[in-house]
């Protein structure tokens, strides 16, 4: 019997090619996902060095950040966006890389497309030039967000140089209360452990709450690992994982499927394995959570008040609360509930999946977006959009006064035309509330779950969705 190992350790060891001179590991990256924003410069470096793509068959591309959500036809109104699109097409064609372009009907946010196609699989290593690559850890993959020079490295060698991470096990036991979602779990965790609490760690999420979660919910949590400073986050693969993957285009078929499931099962963390740190949270302590500040750790329960710098426990905390409230133009000590909003954004790689729209659509009928609020719903992929249409969800959103858009990253980071204007305040299902994140240098973001975004949209102010929609506690 070998020593029990965590999933992270097993996957790391298996994918280790060798140790480099500086002590880092040359790590094999099984799956490389690329998009239009961070790859063109990497292809430029490849050209300069005369390098070829080693495994075009393990490299998959889509376009997500810059695509307009209200214009399908090209050329795009923004010529630079068109240039980026053209560059990606050219690079994929030149090197024989599969490109889930808009005409394929499979385009979408890279972290939604990978799982949807069955490319994201347990026990694998994944890299992508996007920090939310941690999303793929929901399948028991070890997935890293990387920079452009590393994209070059992975394109050319299917490996990258990386130091090993420590593993923190985060167990959430018990049951979430009604109206509390995966988004609240991760916002609560980041608030509790800090935005840099995960530096040097991979997070392993487990416990009864994660055992019960759907794959989409697990993706929501793993997605925001990086907002807690953790380079990667994962959930051990189980029957839920296998059921999700079965039959997807890139999933193994027939006898290969059974063999794969056996292998995947064996990659899960062994009982009694070593963790560098362990954190246990009670699900009952988690409330619908809303951020009030300028980083994702600055959140409160919907029933709580905005912090007052006067009561801060440290000089640092005082300074950061003051800076955040000055930017957010919020009143210290006021209730977060009732804060007027201007925009509601539903979508992103965090919460732009079918389940997110289904959950909101359960509650929307009979409600209308409040006067003066701009509300947009942006499916995370063309497949999510199609599924929503087949279920009639798009019409429910339109009837309620939402604009129903085409797939992309949209207003999460506003590299396309979907932007806040001036100091608009946005209730957003996305992942970052940094200064200027949603496209206006003075724009303001409140992160929350999709159902909470909907509650804010229909009341015109931050609201407790459980009250607005009559969720029984």
């Amino acid at each position: 019997m070998t020593d029990p190992k965590s999933l992270f350790q097993k996957v790391w060891d298996a994918h280790t090619v060798r140790t480099l001179a500086n002590g880092q590991t040359q790590l094999l990256i099984g799956t490389h996902l690329i998009h239009e924003v961070t790859s063109p410069q990497a292809f430029g470096m490849m050209r300069d060095l005369g390098l070829k793509v080693l495994r075009p068959d393990r490299t998959f591309a889509t376009v997500d950040h810059i695509v307009p959500t209200d214009q399908f036809a090209e050329p795009f109104r923004d010529p630079v966006a068109q240039e980026m699109m053209d560059e990606l097409r050219k690079n994929c064609a030149r090197f024989g890389i599969t490109f889930f372009d808009r005409a394929s009907g499979k385009q979408g946010i890279v972290h939604i497309v990978g799982p949807e196609q069955g490319i994201t699989q347990p026990g694998t290593t994944i890299a992508c030039g996007d920090s939310h690559t941690s999303t793929h850890g929901a399948f028991g993959a070890i997935a890293f967000g990387i920079g452009t020079t590393q994209i070059r490295d992975v394109l050319a060698t299917q490996t990258m140089a990386l130091g090993q991470l420590k593993v923190r096990r985060i167990t959430v036991n018990g049951a979430l209360r009604p109206g509390v979602y995966a988004k609240d779990v991760i916002l609560h965790l980041i608030r509790t452990l800090g935005v840099n609490g995960g530096t040097g760690f991979a997070y392993e999420y487990g416990g009864e709450v994660f055992d019960r979660m759907t794959m989409e919910e697990r993706m929501t949590v793993c997605n925001m690992s990086i907002e807690g400073g953790a380079r990667a986050g994962y959930v051990n693969p189980d029957e839920t994982t296998f059921a999700y993957l079965k039959g997807r285009p890139y999933a193994p078929k027939g006898a290969a499927w059974d063999a794969a499931v056996a292998r995947w099962r064996a990659t899960a963390s062994d009982p009694g394995c070593h963790y560098d740190d362990v954190v246990t949270i009670a699900a009952a302590d988690i409330a619908p959570t809303v951020t009030w500040g300028i980083n994702p750790g600055q959140g409160v329960a919907i029933t709580e008040r905005i912090p007052d710098p006067a009561t801060a426990s440290t000089v640092d905390e005082k300074a950061s609360v003051e800076e955040a409230l000055a930017y957010m133009k919020l009143t210290p000590g006021a209730a977060i509930k009732g804060t007027k909003i201007n925009v509601a954004f539903l979508g992103s790689c965090t919460n732009g999946r079918l389940g997110d729209f289904q959950e909101v659509a359960r509650y929307l009928p009979g409600h209308r977006v409040a006067p003066g609020v701009k509300a947009i719903a942006v499916p995370g992929s063309q497949i999510v959009a199609l599924q929503c249409q087949q279920l009639g969800l798009d019409q429910i959103f339109r009837d309620a006064g939402f604009e129903w858009r085409e797939a992309g990253c949209s207003m999460c980071l506003a590299m396309n035309p979907d932007k806040l204007v001036g100091d608009q305040l946005c209730a957003s299902s996305s992942n970052r509330n940094f200064k200027g994140r949603q496209g206006s240098p003075t724009g303001r973001t409140l992160l929350m779950s999709p159902v909470m975004v909907a509650a804010a949209a229909v009341t015109g102010a931050v609201a407790d969705a459980r009250e607005v929609f009559g969720v029984k506690n």
């Binding site: 298996a14 094999l28 099984g30 799956t31 980026m84 699989q121 920079g147 990258m160 935005v195 590299m415």
Partner: protein
């Protein structure tokens, strides 16, 4: 491919105070609309440096006393957020040769090292000492000694930690790993052959 051995850097400094300075602040997403990194230096810290009409906001990088500084000093968790290499690229293309902060976000740190841009961690107290020195004497010469993991300025010496792997890579001129990764290709093929999902 021969790379510079980065053992020590000397230059003037500028202190940008604050914790959790994220990559959107370092380079806002709208400047990611590009197919090369050229010209990004001009937009470093754009939204905290410039008003909508293009005029300057009060910011250390707009202060003529610190023009030409090559060592950027800041607070804790510097570079958190996005994996965009545009952030270290903008810092480097603006003319900075090194970043000294209380701490760094993981992806940002790795991206910097790969560009030969050393990141050194110093205590808050020590960063405050350097900041005080350059505030009164902006021309103060700062030496970041990567090999010795120390900063020397105005007759003082303080500790500045550089991670082992990064320090090794910088001082030995192997901070861009591509050459070494390419050398490992035969071993890559052997490792990949073990995995059904990587069958060609």
């Amino acid at each position: 491919m021969s790379l510079a051995k980065i053992t020590s850097l000397t230059g003037r400094g500028v202190f940008v105070p604050g914790n959790d300075i994220d990559t959107d602040r370092i380079i806002p997403a709208r400047y990611l609309k590009c197919v090369t990194f050229d010209g990004l230096g001009a937009f470093l810290f754009q939204d905290v440096r410039k008003n909508d009409d293009g005029t300057d906001k009060p910011h250390p990088l707009n202060d003529p006393r610190f023009a030409g500084a090559t060592i950027l000093l800041s607070g804790a968790n510097f570079g958190c957020g996005s994996s965009r290499e545009h952030a270290p690229q903008a810092i480097q293309k603006h003319g900075f040769k090194a970043v000294v902060a209380e701490g760094f976000a993981e992806i940002f740190y790795g991206n910097c090292v790969t560009l030969g841009l050393p990141c050194a961690s110093a205590s808050r107290e020590d960063i405050a000492k350097i900041a005080a020195a350059i505030e009164t004497h902006p021309e103060t010469e700062i030496v970041l000694d990567v090999a010795k993991q120390e900063i020397r300025f105005a007759g003082q010496t303080v500790k500045a930690a550089v991670r082992d792997s990064a320090r090794d890579a910088l001082v030995n001129g192997r901070w861009d790993p591509i050459g070494e990764l390419l050398e490992g290709l035969p071993a890559v093929q052997t490792t990949a052959a073990k995995f059904p999902y990587l069958a060609a």
